[in-house]
Assembly symmetry: C2
Homo-oligomer: 162 residues x 2
């Protein structure tokens, strides 16, 4: 296995910037972290290759593209047989409306984050995903009234560069 690809303070500072805006020119990043643009570019490239940076994406406002409703779903399954769990994972993951899916410990087995256009759509989705699935014992729905904070930013312990 590859050695632990430690991130030095430069890398962390760069990540901290890119997680907020990855259109920031490398030259501007360089100025903020005290590095030349090529150095920044090489570090970014390396972090992509090592999987530290998994993707570069545009974040879209769901409401503006016709999906104003965000819903959390706690799903409890009948059987936790590995084969069935894997099937459930694959089943959930392939649904576009399911934007996040986690397999969790606790009083539920899965937690899903779903975006839909209407509650009728959600109702249809529950039928497809839960009622028609024999292994789903129960599910609980939480409708988001306010998306207080939404993002995938991870604290990276970016240091202060004087």
């Amino acid at each position: 296995m590859p050695a632990p690809p430690d991130l030095d303070p430069f890398d962390r500072a760069i990540l901290s910037i890119l997680q907020k805006d990855n259109t920031t020119p490398q030259r501007a990043i360089g100025e903020r972290v005290n590095l030349s643009a090529p150095a920044v570019q090489r570090r970014i490239k390396r972090m992509q290759e090592r999987g530290v940076i998994r993707a570069n994406v545009a974040l879209v406002d769901p409401a503006r593209v016709g999906h104003p409703i965000t819903i959390f779903v706690e799903v409890e399954v009948e059987s936790e047989r590995a084969e069935l769990i894997d099937a459930a994972k694959r089943g959930f993951a392939t649904v576009p409306e399911v934007q996040q899916c986690y397999y969790v410990t606790g009083e539920a087995d899965f937690i899903l984050v779903v975006t839909v256009a209407t509650m009728a759509d959600y109702e249809a989705l529950t039928r497809r995903l839960f009622f028609e699935n024999n292994n789903v014992k129960r599910f609980r729905t939480f409708v988001a009234m306010d998306r207080v904070k939404v993002g995938l930013e991870v604290p990276v312990g970016a240091p202060h560069l004087p």
Copy 2:
């Protein structure tokens, strides 16, 4: 207020691409949607101005930057007085470890997504956020064993362009 900024099939196709990889050259996008690079560029710019595209960010693997643990928390509050709710929203939103926070209906009032380095860190966080907060009645913890699907992509009804 601005008129509804309708998205035509071109816009949707562009969004669909940018949500997966916003480093795709505009010329390449143009080829895929049958538009020139400048046309693509103007549409992107317009969608940013109109708030359809909210941000352009790099997605970082939490485990690779020292936050291998993802946790869901359902929070139930004592009082739903608007003032207290707003205070709670602000309190949660400002914590870097809280990467997502939703105010929801149902058997809980808030759902948080938290990333931490260790369970000890989580324990410390719960103390700070919940035990020291008089308005938190109860909270339930779900530790993610598998991040089956993680993203903020929204289905955009992208049409097929042959």
